[in-house]
């Protein structure tokens, strides 16, 4: 208990907790349609693009957040457009764009010499979070939560059956665009805490865990949110107590929830 009190007496831990909880909640909600529509790889691809943008911004001596955010948002719309193309498959386009961005970032860092710490971008750093991150996290959650409530039934219709949703007048292209943009913001913001290689876990893992136990869409949404918040909190505390990297510890916490859900499903023969 004393350790917990001590932990939250540090300003950087409070920032990490606030950003982490808001981010994990937004990520879990955005993750539901992405994962259920088998579009999880968009998150993974965008995180590599974010790495490239962060690296180039650092090499040029620019603030990373304002540079990376528009680049990742634009890339997400590009991925959606290419995914609609009949010539290329969506996953191949994601791989092409993400590996190119990763290569560009690495190339830029190597040209700059040892002035840029690549590890912070790849694996995240709790110390890198500033007040701007807290503000963006609050804005993100303030946008995602009402959007999800207002469009809940429509998001469900589009997620379950896009053709039917289009036939009854839903603008499915707009939904796809909004989710890709929100996913970009989660990636860029979360990369500072979790790192480029680990951030997509926040979007994917809670939904996969919830899907194993839930028998309705509503249950998937609610349990994803709860699992995501718990896993973030447990991971953050564990990383402080064990002195381990925050991003990796949070992902392992998410993995523990996934394995527990899997075990529970098998024991109680759910789904």
């Amino acid at each position: 208990m004393n350790s917990l009190v001590e932990m939250f007496s540090y300003d950087f831990m409070i920032k990490a907790l606030v950003v982490g909880l808001l981010l994990s909640l937004s990520a879990a909600l955005i993750g539901v349609p992405l994962v259920l529509r088998k579009n999880s790889m968009i998150g993974d691809g965008l995180s590599h693009v974010a790495f490239g943008a962060f690296a180039i911004a650092s090499v040029l001596g620019l603030a990373p957040l304002p540079v990376a955010l528009p680049i990742v948002v634009l890339t997400s719309t590009l991925i959606l457009r290419l995914g609609e193309s009949r010539k290329f498959s969506g996953d191949a386009m994601i791989a092409l764009i993400s590996t190119s961005a990763l290569a560009l970032g690495t190339f830029a860092v190597s040209l700059a010499g040892s002035n840029v710490d690549i590890n912070n971008y790849l694996f995240g750093s709790i110390l890198s979070l500033g007040n701007a991150d807290v503000v963006v996290a609050i804005l993100l959650a303030a946008l995602v939560l009402p959007l999800f409530v207002i469009f809940y039934h429509r998001i469900f219709a589009v997620t379950f059956d896009e053709t039917f949703a289009r036939s009854i007048g839903q603008n499915t292209k707009l939904y796809n665009l909004v989710f890709a943009v929100l996913c970009s913001v989660v990636i860029v913001l979360g990369m500072r805490l979790m790192g480029a290689l680990l951030i997509s876990a926040l979007i994917i893992f809670p939904v996969l865990s919830a899907k194993q136990l839930a028998t309705s869409y509503k249950a998937v949404v609610l349990s994803s949110a709860v699992i995501s918040l718990l896993a973030l909190f447990i991971g953050l505390v564990a990383s402080y107590l064990l002195d381990t990297p925050t991003g990796a510890t949070i992902v392992l916490s998410e993995l523990a929830f996934f394995l527990c859900a899997n075990l529970t499903r098998k024991i109680f023969k759910i789904n």
């Binding site: 088998k38 219709a157 379950f160 949703a165 036939s167 007048g169 028998t215 869409y217 249950a219």
Partner: protein, 225 residues
């Protein structure tokens, strides 16, 4: 009453035309089967009637709200392991009447339960869609289509992947809906020899020629060939 009419309609993708010069009228209570080999344009016609692709030539005249055409996709087009309750899926059909709604009303829920009752699957309302059999899943998708329209249903190969018993049951229900509720039905099918299949009209897309007429006339032509 004519619900929908196409005049010299050509449909396709980009510069490729798949269906040319299609003229037909669909009236209340009609039962039209669309038959033809793979690639003949059956799905393209459905997409055109639903407004999912624009006509390359000609026009479609709707005497009903286009959103209120009930659509039932092939079962294989829907994720069979999607985590959703039957009621959640059927209720999404209520968005057709008001696409901007935030919450479902009590009337929507009542209407959804009535559709389930009509198809004799009201006991499945709270079941997980992923755990249902193929036939039950098809009925759930049919209930959703029924909630979205009481005038015209478009069914895309509804009996795909079903065994004979489930297939017979589903065709019987569809025929009853057409007869009892005066619901116009357009059904894409491969089951040319099925007893229950043949509605009153056939749209046949074979050998790049389009036949649209009565079932009797179509059968005469087939027997002559």
């Amino acid at each position: 009453m004519i619900l929908l009419e196409t005049k010299n309609l050509s449909l396709g993708y980009g510069k490729t035309t798949v269906v040319e010069n299609l003229s037909l009228k669909i009236a209340a209570g009609d039962f039209i089967c669309i038959v033809g080999p793979n690639g003949s344009g059956k799905t393209t016609i459905i997409k055109g009637l639903l407004g999912l692709i624009s006509p390359q030539k000609g026009e479609i005249i709707y005497n009903l709200n286009r959103r209120e055409i009930g659509f039932m996709p092939q079962e294989t087009k829907v994720d069979p392991y999607f985590p959703a309750s039957v009621l959640e899926i059927v209720l999404s059909g209520a968005l057709a009447k008001n696409p901007g709604r935030v919450f479902y009303s009590k009337d929507d829920k009542q209407a959804a339960l009535e559709k389930l009752k009509l198809l004799k699957i009201e006991n499945l309302a709270c079941e997980n869609f992923a755990r249902l059999s193929g036939g039950q899943k098809q009925k759930v998708l049919l209930a959703r289509a029924l909630l979205s329209s009481s005038k015209l249903l478009i069914l895309d190969e509804p009996s795909n992947n079903l065994d004979k018993t489930s297939k017979d049951g589903l065709y019987k229900i569809i025929a009853e809906l057409n007869r009892r509720e005066r619901l116009a039905i357009i059904m894409v099918t491969h089951d040319l020899d099925h007893d229950n299949l043949l509605g009153d009209k056939i749209l046949s897309l074979r050998d790049e020629t389009i036949f649209f007429g009565s079932t009797k006339e179509f059968l005469k032509r087939v027997h002559h060939e």
